[in-house]
């Protein structure tokens, strides 16, 4: 998949502003970014349900403007909201979705038990979807997206709103898909999800791509190796101080703490101790995507 100068405008609002990216067959590609960064609009254009305002897009070697139906025939889509058919049972939801793809009835019926098994919904096959829990509905929507054995699956915030057990179950199912060679495109604002799943990702902010790479590359480039989180006694806020200046390669001042980036945590710790700044606690950890995210999009969040 190739996007060049991809742009989407709704009237005055520019949701996606001339972004470029490539997705290779078989990889897991992520769009990371805060709400409103343009992730969903990008996904909808890739899913051939939203015309481009500008730029070019090739999905599965085809142009969504002219070959929308052909592209959608080979895609699986997991939208942000669970668009299940509330008037039908779990099985009928899978069945009719397969029929929407024009699959022969017998073929759909053969596929349903496998998908129920995959989504761990076999014992809920005849239930109305209205009685399913949020996690079950999400698994049903993911299973539904696989009915046509797609070459590429688009997942828009696949685990938002799920409890930790349900999230791990969904991740596990997605890993299984990648083992089968399916290309996955997902949006998320969960760092752990992006780190868990993505081979490569782009960070989006304000309708543009601000960084691109594998999670490891992004961490190395934007956060360094190790991180020291410094918290202050109640009533002390760091804002406006200069006591920690010069320590580490970079500092991020948040509402409740200061995050110091560097390559050697011990060195950072002793520098802070000797700075004379009154500190309540210090925590050393490895740099994560969260640090990348905060660096690239964070300032806006604090304001």
């Amino acid at each position: 998949m190739v996007a060049r100068g991809l742009t989407k405008r709704f009237g005055e609002l520019t949701a996606v502003d001339a972004i470029d990216f490539d997705v290779h067959t078989g990889e897991v590609f992520g769009f990371l970014g805060p709400n409103g960064a343009g992730k969903t609009s990008t996904m909808r254009m890739i899913g051939a349900v939203s015309p481009l305002t500008g730029g070019t897009l090739q999905v599965l070697d085809r142009d969504p403007a002219t070959d929308g139906a052909e592209i959608r025939a080979r895609l699986g889509v997991v939208p942000q909201e669970n668009t299940v058919d509330e008037e039908l049972s779990v099985t009928d939801n899978l069945y009719i979705y397969g029929r929407y793809f024009g699959m022969p009835r017998a073929q759909v019926r053969r596929r349903i038990p496998e998908l129920l098994e995959f989504a761990q919904l076999t014992d809920r096959a005849d239930d109305k979807v209205t009685v399913l829990s949020g996690g079950m509905k999400r698994r049903l929507v993911i299973a539904r997206a696989l009915i046509n054995t797609p070459s590429m699956v688009l997942l828009d915030e696949p685990t938002t709103g799920l409890d930790p057990q349900a999230r791990h179950l969904v991740w596990d199912r997605l890993h299984e898909l990648t083992r089968q060679g399916v290309t996955l495109l997902l949006t998320t604002h969960y760092m752990d999800e992006a780190e868990q799943l993505c081979d490569r990702l782009v960070v989006m902010s304000d309708a543009t791509i601000v960084a691109e790479g594998s999670p490891r590359e992004l961490i190395a480039t934007y956060a360094g190796r190790e991180v020291l989180e410094v918290r202050f006694p109640p009533g002390h806020r760091y804002a406006g101080w200069t006591g920690l200046d010069g320590i580490g390669s970079r500092r991020e001042v948040l509402a409740d703490r200061v995050i110091i980036y560097g390559d050697d945590a011990e060195q950072l710790t002793s520098a802070v101790t000797h700075s004379g700044v009154e500190v309540a606690s210090m925590l050393v950890r490895r740099a994560s995507l969260e640090d990348v995210f905060l660096r690239l999009t964070g300032r806006r969040l604090i304001e």
Binding site: E70, R72, T83, D85, I96, Y100, F101
Partner: protein, 266 residues
């Protein structure tokens, strides 16, 4: 060559729409009672008209100026009114619910189905239902002896034409609605149409100025067409009613398909 492409286009469109209909059939199978009970309602109405109002009113002036029994006069109007109500409710309440609440169409459009498939499928399903109810209604009318002419067979396609006309306009209206409160306006518009379209008594009961106004009512054209067919008073004037309804279907259809395209694929 071109014909071949055209046929291919129509068959793929047709098969897309048929899958949307398949979904509606599945839902109906789950609520079979609701569907079947729809056949009972006209029986109550026709019975009340026949033994009730019919005996109070006696004969009225038919479309050709001669006397007809009140039941034979009012029954075709009820068929027309139910064709209108069925099509309007399905296209306004039904579409509005599926589009705004159910997000049903978002799921459909993520598949190879196109907005045209979805629109054709929904209209097709609404018409199949309308056909079933119209046939049932006509059967009851025949059994009760309220049909005077073999032309009455054409009342069924006439009811279907009404379904297209009111369904298309209803769907166009539905794309402009923002909340359930707007749907009250639909009811507010339907009631005067139902009551004042020469449904329950001949036009000559009205003052002359109102008679003119009545002829602008789309239901009036449906009622007049179906009544003439079941009573067997056939004339070239009927083509005028057909043209009126056909024009509604075309204009409503064009507006609806444009608006749906914009709303479903922003």
């Amino acid at each position: 060559m071109l014909t071949g492409q055209l046929i291919a286009a129509v068959t793929t469109r047709g098969s897309g729409a048929s899958r949307v209909i398949e979904r509606d059939l599945l839902v109906t199978r789950n609520n079979l009672m609701v569907f079947v009970s729809g056949f009972v309602e006209p029986v109550f109405y026709l019975f009340a008209i026949d033994v009730g109002l019919g005996r109070l009113v006696g004969d009225v002036t038919g479309p050709d100026g001669g006397p007809v029994s009140y039941a034979a006069f009012a029954a075709p109007a009820l068929l027309a009114a139910s064709a209108m109500n069925g099509a309007v409710y399905e296209s306004t309440f039904g579409i509005f619910f599926k589009m705004r609440w159910g997000k049903l169409y978002d799921a459909m459009l993520a598949t190879p189905l196109t907005p045209t498939d979805v629109a054709l499928g929904e209209i097709g399903w609404s018409q199949l239902r309308g056909l079933a109810y119209a046939c049932a209604f006509m059967t009851v009318m025949v059994v009760m002896g309220l049909v005077a002419s073999p032309w009455a067979v054409l009342a069924i396609p006439a009811a279907i034409l009404m379904g297209f006309a009111f369904g298309a306009v209803g769907m166009a209206v539905a794309t402009f609605m923002r909340s359930w409160v707007d749907l009250d306006m639909v009811n507010l518009a339907l009631l005067p149409l139902f009551l004042f379209s020469a449904t329950f008594y001949p036009l000559d009961v009205y003052p002359r100025s109102l008679q003119m106004l009545t002829q602008l009512s789309p239901l009036y054209h449906g009622v007049a067409l179906i009544r003439s067919l079941t009573l067997g008073t056939i004339g070239p004037g009927l083509l005028l009613h057909v043209a009126f309804l056909a024009a509604m279907a075309v204009v409503g259809g064009i507006v609806a398909s444009r608006r749906l395209h914009e709303q479903l694929l922003p």
